[in-house]
C-alpha cells in the first residue's frame, strides 16, 4: 500500500526542526501541522500576513479578520505577529522562512516544479507559490507519485507551466522519500509495502536507489 495523506504529512513533520519557521501550503502540507511534536518550538507562517498561526478557532473565537492563506478561519498563538503582504514576502523571498511544504502536479529530475496551471483547463493562479519556491531555504514537495491513470508525476521534464526552476531538493510522495541531486531522483525511503524496484518502475524521470535506502515504518 502506498502512504496515506496523513502518513506523507507525518513523514514530512520529521523534517521540522526545533526553532523553525515553516510555511505549509494547502492540502497535504496543511496536515503536517498535526504531526509536529509538542516539544519543538515551531512558528507557522501564513503568507497573507501571520507568523504564529494556531489551530482552527472554536465557534465563539471565529474572527473574519483572522484567516490563513487558504482563507480558512484560524487563531494566533502567543508570540504571533501580523504584518503586511510585502513584509510577508520579504520573509519568504529573503530566505527567513526555514522550510516550505507545498503540493505539486509535476516535479522533474532537475528539481523544477509545476503546480499552478493546466493550460486550457485550470486558471486559478500561482498565489504565493512562485515566491515560496524561489525564496525558502528548504522546499519539500508533498505529492502523489502517479496520476489516476498511473502516469508518473516525477518526470524527466515537467510538461506543465513551471512554478520554479531547479528549486526542489526533496519529495515525499505516497511511494517514498526522494531526494533530487545533480544525478536526478534518488530514492531514500520507500512505502512499507512497496519495493525500491516498484518505485523505480512507477517513475518516469531518471531515478537511482540510494545505497542506504530503507523501508519506511509507521
Amino acid at each position: 500500500m502506498p502512504l496515506t495523506r496523513e502518513q506523507i504529512a507525518q513523514r514530512i513533520a520529521q523534517e521540522v526542526q526545533d526553532g523553525y519557521c515553516v510555511n505549509l501550503g494547502i492540502g497535504i502540507p496543511t496536515l503536517v501541522a498535526n504531526y509536529i511534536p509538542q516539544d519543538k518550538f515551531v512558528m507557522l507562517q501564513s503568507e497573507n500576513g501571520l507568523l504564529g498561526m494556531g489551530p482552527f478557532p472554536t465557534e465563539s473565537e471565529v474572527d473574519p479578520d483572522l484567516i490563513n492563506a487558504g482563507k480558512q478561519t484560524v487563531t494566533a498563538l502567543p508570540g504571533a505577529s501580523f504584518f503586511s503582504s510585502a513584509d510577508s514576502f520579504a520573509m519568504i523571498r529573503g530566505g527567513h522562512v526555514d522550510l516550505t511544504v507545498l503540493g505539486a502536479m509535476e516535479v522533474d529530475e532537475q528539481g523544477s516544479i509545476a503546480n499552478w496551471m493546466v493550460p486550457g483547463k485550470m486558471v486559478k493562479g500561482m498565489g504565493g507559490a512562485m515566491d515560496l519556491v524561489a525564496g525558502a531555504r528548504n522546499v519539500i514537495v508533498a505529492m502523489q507519485h502517479t496520476d489516476k491513470e498511473g502516469n508518473s508525476k516525477l518526470r524527466t521534464k515537467c510538461t506543465l507551466p513551471l512554478t520554479g526552476v531547479k528549486c526542489i531538493k526533496k519529495i515525499v510522495s505516497d511511494f517514498g522519500v526522494i531526494e533530487i541531486t545533480p544525478q536526478g531522483f534518488v530514492l531514500k525511503e520507500y512505502a512499507p509495502d512497496l519495493t525500491p524496484e516498484k518505485v523505480l518502475a512507477a517513475t518516469e524521470g531518471k531515478m537511482t536507489i540510494a545505497p542506504d535506502c530503507k523501508a519506511m515504518t509507521f
Binding site: S46, E47, N48, G49, L50, P55, F56, P57, T58, E59, S60, E61, V62, D63, P64, D65, L66, I67, N68, G70, K71, Q72, T73, V74, A76, F82, F83, S84, S85, A86, S88, F89, I92, R93, S112, M117, V123, K124, G125, M126, G127, G128, A129, M130, D131, A134, G135, P161, L162, T163, G164, V165
Partner: protein, 232 residues
C-alpha cells in the same frame, strides 16, 4: 486636514472615471474595501483595470464588478474562488495578468515608494518572466518587475483618524498598507473614524500622508470564505 473626511463612499468616490486603474487592498474577502466596491458597482464605471490579489467570489467583493462587466483587466495572483472570472477569462471578455503574490505586493510597494522597477528571483524561467529583462547578480538570475501606481487606491482599515492615519486589524492588513501608498488618490474606509490625536503614534500602520480621502464605512458584512472550527 478635515478636507480629507467624507461622509460616505459615494461622496468620496465622486470622480472615479471609466478606464482608470484601481488598486484594491484585501486578501480573499478579508480586509476588502466593501463600501467602495459597492459604490463602484452602483456608479457603473467601466473599462477598469483592477490590481487586487484576488477577484472576490461570484457575488461579493470584486465579483460584483465582474458580474456587471465593469472590469477590463485584472492583475492578480489567485482567482480560483470565482467561477464567473474563469468563464469571462476563458471567453476572452476579461484580460488577466497573473502576478506572483510577493511580486504583486512588492510592485505596489515600489509604485508607492517611487521605484520604477526591481529585480526579483520569483518567476525566473516561468511564463511570468516571458518578455521581461533577466539579469544575473552573483550567480543567480533575477527578473525585472515594474512598480504599479493606480489612479485610485481603495483600502479598508479598522481605525483611522481625520488626518488619514490608519490602523489595521489582524490579517485584514494584508495588501492594504501597500495599496494605500500607491494611489494617486487613496481612499480609506474605516470601521471607526476618530479625532486626530486619538491614535497612538507608535501603533499607526499607515501614516496619514498617504491617504487623501477617508470615511467611516457602514454595514460591514466581513464575509468568511472558509469557516473552519474545532470543537471547543
Amino acid at each position: 486636514m478635515s478636507k480629507k473626511v467624507f461622509k460616505d463612499a459615494k461622496s468620496a468616490l465622486f470622480d472615479v472615471k471609466d478606464n482608470m486603474t484601481l488598486i484594491l487592498g484585501g486578501f480573499g474577502l478579508c480586509g476588502i474595501p466593501e463600501n467602495s466596491i459597492a459604490v463602484l458597482r452602483d456608479m457603473g464605471v467601466k473599462g477598469l483595470t483592477c490590481v487586487s490579489n484576488n477577484a472576490g467570489v461570484d457575488d461579493f467583493g470584486l465579483g460584483q464588478l465582474l458580474q456587471n462587466r465593469q472590469i477590463k483587466k485584472m492583475i492578480s495572483s489567485y482567482v480560483g474562488e470565482n467561477a464567473l472570472f474563469e468563464k469571462l477569462y476563458m471567453s476572452g471578455e476579461l484580460e488577466l495578468e497573473f502576478c506572483p503574490q510577493g511580486t504583486l505586493a512588492e510592485r505596489i510597494r515600489a509604485g508607492g515608494a517611487g521605484i520604477a522597477g526591481f529585480y526579483t528571483p520569483t518567476g525566473v524561467g516561468t511564463l511570468v518572466a516571458e518578455g521581461k529583462e533577466v539579469k544575473n547578480f552573483e550567480g543567480r538570475d533575477y527578473v525585472l518587475e515594474r512598480g504599479i501606481v493606480g489612479d485610485f487606491a481603495f483600502v479598508k482599515a479598522w481605525k483611522g483618524d481625520k488626518f488619514g492615519n490608519l490602523v489595521f486589524r489582524k490579517t485584514a492588513r494584508n495588501f492594504n498598507p501597500m495599496a494605500a501608498t500607491a494611489g494617486k488618490i487613496t481612499v480609506a474606509e474605516v470601521e471607526e473614524l476618530v479625532e486626530v490625536g486619538q491614535l497612538d503614534p507608535d501603533q499607526i500602520h499607515t501614516p496619514g500622508v498617504y491617504v487623501q480621502r477617508i470615511f467611516q464605512g457602514a454595514n460591514y458584512e466581513k464575509r468568511i470564505e472558509q469557516k473552519t472550527v474545532r470543537k471547543g
